[in-house]
């Protein structure tokens, strides 16, 4: 569950989000739309506590911004899978090790890790190329690996910040389908996009941001 109550945040150079209030229940799939600079990324960062709100309250599962301690932030993030437009894959390690990284962080045993990595890569339809490095993959393949890395730890929430931004229409369509499949297994998904054509007609809830404020839900 993600809940914002009158949340505001202003960046040093201005902009940010103003007085946001909404609630996303467990298992929901919600699209976040708005033009560039409308505050989508800021909203996402507030959810994983990369930014701490100036006013209001952010609640994510049992974590609450009012009582949140810095040392507990990693704990929260282990429960959130993140997918970014620019992938954030580590160029110095191969596909397998990129996907395995969250499992090492969470302390999985070395016996269990290969099994879970294979499962996650299979789930996102990534065929072969386990030992390839990110610079040897196409944009669509990189995004699948990023998604595999997000789901490998079996998170309750997935935040996807413009995940289709660098993909061709077919790959973008396939990625959204993949996210829907993952959502069918009970994972809450919040996906930011400014590509309205990609998300319309899917029967999902849409949050619309403009100039840092929620314009519609």
């Amino acid at each position: 569950m993600i809940e914002f109550q009158n949340v505001s945040y202003t960046h040093n150079k201005g902009k940010g989000v103003n007085n946001l209030s909404f609630k996303i229940e467990d298992g929901d799939f919600v699209f976040l739309i708005g033009p560039t600079g409308s505050g989508k990324t800021t909203l996402m960062r507030l959810i994983y506590f990369d930014l701490l709100c100036n006013s209001g309250t952010v609640k994510v599962d049992t974590f609450n911004s009012e009582s949140m301690r810095i040392k507990n932030i990693p704990q929260l993030r282990r429960n959130i899978g993140m997918v970014f437009q620019d992938y954030h894959l580590l160029e110095d390690r191969d596909v397998f090790n990129n996907v395995a990284l969250p499992l090492h962080v969470m302390g999985y045993s070395s016996q269990e890790i290969p099994y879970r990595v294979e499962e996650a890569l299979d789930l996102v339809g990534f065929e072969g190329k386990r030992s390839h490095y990110p610079n040897e993959l196409s944009g669509g393949e990189k995004q699948r690996v990023t998604l595999a890395r997000a789901i490998v730890k079996d998170p309750d929430i997935i935040l996807a910040d413009e995940p289709t931004g660098n993909l061709d229409p077919v790959a973008a369509f396939e990625l959204v389908q993949l996210l829907e499949t993952i959502n069918n297994n009970g994972t809450t998904i919040l996906m930011a996009s400014h590509n309205y054509n990609l998300i319309k007609g899917r029967g999902r809830r849409i949050l619309e941001l403009k100039d840092g404020s929620l314009r519609g839900s």
Binding site: R77, M82, H88, L90, D92
Partner: protein, 290 residues
């Protein structure tokens, strides 16, 4: 346990993954350690070099013509009693003739018909003193002894050597301090730069929920590995340099000095590089995560 082993293995893997960064870090660490090591050896050996030079200090004390050998022995004993004198060796009249012949290739007795050379003594000074060796008071005391005619010595050279030593002892700690600070800054900043070049990794680890310790540990291990490698390279090179210097001095100069290397110095170098690498890594990661 798996997690801990993973963090250690990541430290080793990072060294391999980022060969160029590792090379740069190890090279600058090595250079710093090499020069700090040589400086430490110079510091350790300054005193022994001075003692060697002092062993060459020599006073020639000529006795009056009427001084007989028995009296000369008494005078020599009086000289030995002076503070700062290590030895006094009597050169009798016959020895003096032989020395004259060796030096000038002339037999003075056959030229003059008699031996005009007086009995003399060669006086050496004590070498072990942390302070400047003042020769004038010793010379004055020798001159005051009855039967002593003249004292000859290389006063200016001795003064120069002693003053230089005093200057070195005065400024060495300062120079050493500056050198060590530069080395520390070089090591610290090299480690920092190598970590800053991997900001992306730190950012990714943060986003997937890694704790601060989990993020820092591989970098700290990597820093230790870099420091260890640099020490491993610097140590034999320092030994080689000193052995080369010893070989050069013994074979191509008249200096009979052997520079020594204290084994504990290598321990200090390892500790220095290790500590700074660990602190540098730790602080650099903390700065990025701030």
């Amino acid at each position: 346990m798996d997690k801990f082993l993973y963090l250690i293995s990541e430290g080793f893997k990072n060294v391999w993954r980022h060969k160029m960064t590792t090379f740069t870090a190890v090279f600058s660490l090595f250079l710093s350690l090499y020069f700090v090591g040589l400086l430490a050896i110079a510091g350790e050996n300054t005193k022994s070099i001075l003692e060697y030079l002092r062993s060459k200090y020599k006073f020639e004390v000529f006795f009056k013509q009427n001084v007989e050998f028995e009296k000369a022995k008494v005078i020599s004993q009086s000289i030995l009693n002076i503070k700062g004198v290590r030895s006094s060796t009597i050169i009798n009249k016959d020895d003096a003739v032989r020395i004259f012949k060796d030096q000038f290739d002339e037999d003075i007795i056959s030229i003059l018909g008699y031996n005009p050379l007086p009995i003399s003594a060669v006086v050496n000074l004590k070498r072990k003193s942390n302070n400047i060796l003042e020769t004038s008071p010793i010379v004055e005391q020798i001159k005051r002894i009855e039967g002593v005619d003249e004292v000859r010595y290389q006063g200016l050279l001795i003064k120069k050597i002693e003053r230089t030593y005093a200057k070195i002892m005065k400024y060495f700690p300062l120079i050493a301090m500056i050198f060590i600070i530069i080395a520390v800054l070089v090591i610290y900043n090299t480690v920092k730069l190598s970590i800053f070049s991997r900001k992306e990794l730190i950012e990714s680890l943060r986003l997937i929920g890694a704790t601060r310790l989990f993020i820092k540990m591989p970098f700290v291990f990597e820093g230790l590995i870099d420091a260890g490698l640099a020490t491993l390279i610097a140590s034999p090179l320092i030994i080689g340099t000193i052995n080369g210097l010893n070989y050069f001095m013994n074979n191509f100069t008249s200096w009979n000095v052997k520079l020594f290397i204290s084994p504990t110095m290598f321990l200090w170098l390892t500790l220095l590089s290790g500590t700074i690498s660990v602190i540098g890594s730790y602080r650099a990661v903390s700065n990025i995560m701030r």
